[in-house]
Amino acid sequence: MIRAMAFRNLQEVARFVITLGVALILGAIIIQLSGREASAAYRALFESALGSRLALADSLAVSTPLILTGLATAVAFRTGVFNVGVEGSLYMGAFAAAWVGFTWPNTPSGLLIPAAILAGGLAGSLWGLIPGTLKAWLDVDEIVTTIMMNYIAVSFTSYLVNYPFAVPGLANAMSPMVPSSIHLPRLLPPSQLHAGFILALLCALGVGVLFSRTTWGFEFNLQGSNPIFARWAGVRSPRVILTAMGLSGFLGGLAGAFQILGVHYRFIANFSPGYGYDGIAIALLGRTTAFGTLVGALLFGALRNGASGLELFAGIPLELVRILEAVIILMVTAEATIRLKGKKIPISVEREG
């Protein structure tokens, strides 16, 4: 039995490596076609992603929000809720954390930091609960609502820093700075790696435990793998969907809060390059497991960070790394499709009449 499980894990690893390998090969072809040396490009990529302590630290810093948005997405997908609204939760969480910071600047940091983080999480959570409620009680399609909620969150936070919380004399749409007492400590200066990374790792651990050892996780799995059976078994589906959406939003909110408290120190309109959407690809790459999502986020972080070096040293535009990412995403979805086709479920047997 243990051997069977080890074999399955081995398969998962093999799948991951093959996906990455094929993406790298396709990427190499594209780089060669664009008239550059693929091997040199990859060397530059590797160097600037993992080549030194500083490079590594920067990669981890880039990974930090991705770990959290990946986990947020994984929690929802597990439950069969296609929450693509993590981006919106991230914006709401980011603003809430900044707001706590610049509103009570003189509170002792021992109180202020937890308060700001919690505010970020809760804001994200509430944002997720709106489409969650619509889905749970009225069966409104969550993909549509969560996408719309993203637009609302981005525009609403932008409005907030442009009008009610506008800083006089500042051209850009930004909130006031948060006090330095609330900054998350940097782990390896001058790298941007901050304590939020450790907290993100703890979240991954927590989600892992949640999935495998709690009744909540059990309900997520049951609801996600067969919602009809879940109802027959007595699972209170609306409540489970709400829990998942609330938790998903919470993690998304944390991602936003950490970016503010660890990197930007103020809320900036449109600050996210799409961390919430990256979380979707990462969660899928990680098969919606906590560990897989963590690995996927670290990989994406390294790629992103390496991309800057690629441009600097190999003269390869950033867009090529984006293409590499896109190829990975393509591989993940293609592989998922192949798996679904291979798994034929013998339903016809039952439906004789």
């Binding site: 039995m1 069977a4 499980m5 495998s212 050892r213 709690t214 009744t215 909540w216 059990f218 309900e219 799995n221 049951l222 793998s225 067969n226 009809i228 059976f229 879940a230 109802r231 027959w232 078994a233 007595g234 699972v235 209170r236 798994k343 479920i345 013998p346 339903i347 016809s348 047997v349 039952e350 004789e352 009449g353």
Partner: protein, 506 residues
Amino acid sequence: MAYLEMRGITKRFPGVIANDHVDFSVEEGEIHALVGENGAGKTTLMRILYGLESPDEGIIRLGGRAVRIPNPQAAIRLGIGMVHQHFQLVPSFTALENIVLNREPRRGPLLDRQHARCALETLIERLGLEVDLGARISELSVGERQRVEILKLLYRNARLIILDEPTTVLTPQETHALFAMLRRLKEEGRTIIFISHRLSEVMEIADRVTVLRRGRVVGVRSVASTDERELARMMVGEVAAIARQACRSLENAPPALIVRDVTLAEIPGRLSLKGLSFEVRRGEILGVAGVEGNGQQELVELLAGLRFPQKGQILLDGKDITFMDVRGRRRHGLAVIPPDRLQEGLSLPAPVWANLIATRYHLPPFSHLGLLNRALIRSYAAQLIQKFEVMVPSIDAPALALSGGNLQRLIIAREVSTPPRVLIAAHPTRGLDMRATQAIRKLLLELAGQGTAVLLISTDIDELLALSDRLLVLHRGEIVGFLPISQADPESLGLLMAGRRLERRG
């Protein structure tokens, strides 16, 4: 020489033989009825003929030539058409567009509506049909949609038309119109295979009848030389007299489940239930007979707590559970073997252990303060699969890896691991082989022996007669009769199921 000849057709599914060396032949220009209970193999046989399934053994001859039908396109080329129980029309297209779909007369890249309309109108006129060609499918009634389906076949020039239970969805008036059309098609020399289990309709429309039971042909009759009683007996079979436990005295046993005048409104895709009243005593097996789709699904959903009645009351051991949810009912000792094993009874991607505790993971000792006790759950799961002889590769394997019989054992193991007060068993042996069937039946009898009240819902009359103490018959959401087992025989039961009220015998 018969027009269509299917010889020695055998089709096996995992754990089930759907067709067991079936010989089936149809003469040109006749209306041939194919009858049998649910699961008798009618649909499988016709799916083979239409190229949707490939037979494991057997040959098909059409017009004297051996043919191979690997897919529906091939069937259509041979002039075979099929109207499925679930219509295959594009709701947003008009009737005309659906009919010519894939065979469009074209003018350049565009659909030549004029030409299509012309061709169809002559067809419609000849058959005396009423079809609004310009209406969208979504605007049409079920009867009209069926006519569109048939027109689709005629437009493709089908000579042999298969109708899979065409009347189940129709009102009596629509059925009448359908039959009139079938007669005209017959006059044109077309051949029709009519799948049904409504014997009165078979007697009315068919020339000959082939009866299937448990995947085998029981006999072929010409309608002129048979009657409903004989057909019912053939369909249902002589009952193997498996002696129940010597007539247990249930007269004094208290009722465990009481259903009082319960009414459930119709929702899309579901029947309504009208004024159901019955009770099941402790230790009693009450059989619910009826042709599938006459309210069984709704009844199970109602009792399981998935839907709530508009009127009436449900009592479990004296406690009113009418508006209690699934979890509450289960806590009060209700267990359910759902009708659709793969959808309602299990999560196929989930591991075996999770399926085994899916109804009680939230209770001690399986979890405490939201944390699962994994070690205990694993040993509990291992115990259950051993006790109920479920063959699994490992308790971590997904349920997907199990065969049909083992999936059902898994469900039953979960539901009866602690003997319930009331067990709702819907189609507990459907599609299972003999060995698994016998084991499950034995288990149900044992449970009743221990005092569980069992409501056994089945379309298998053998099963109902072998296990039940009493029978009730459902027809279109109503109870049309109660029978003590001593007075139940396949013949009268078959007639009741077909909607005939029992005439009182002297």
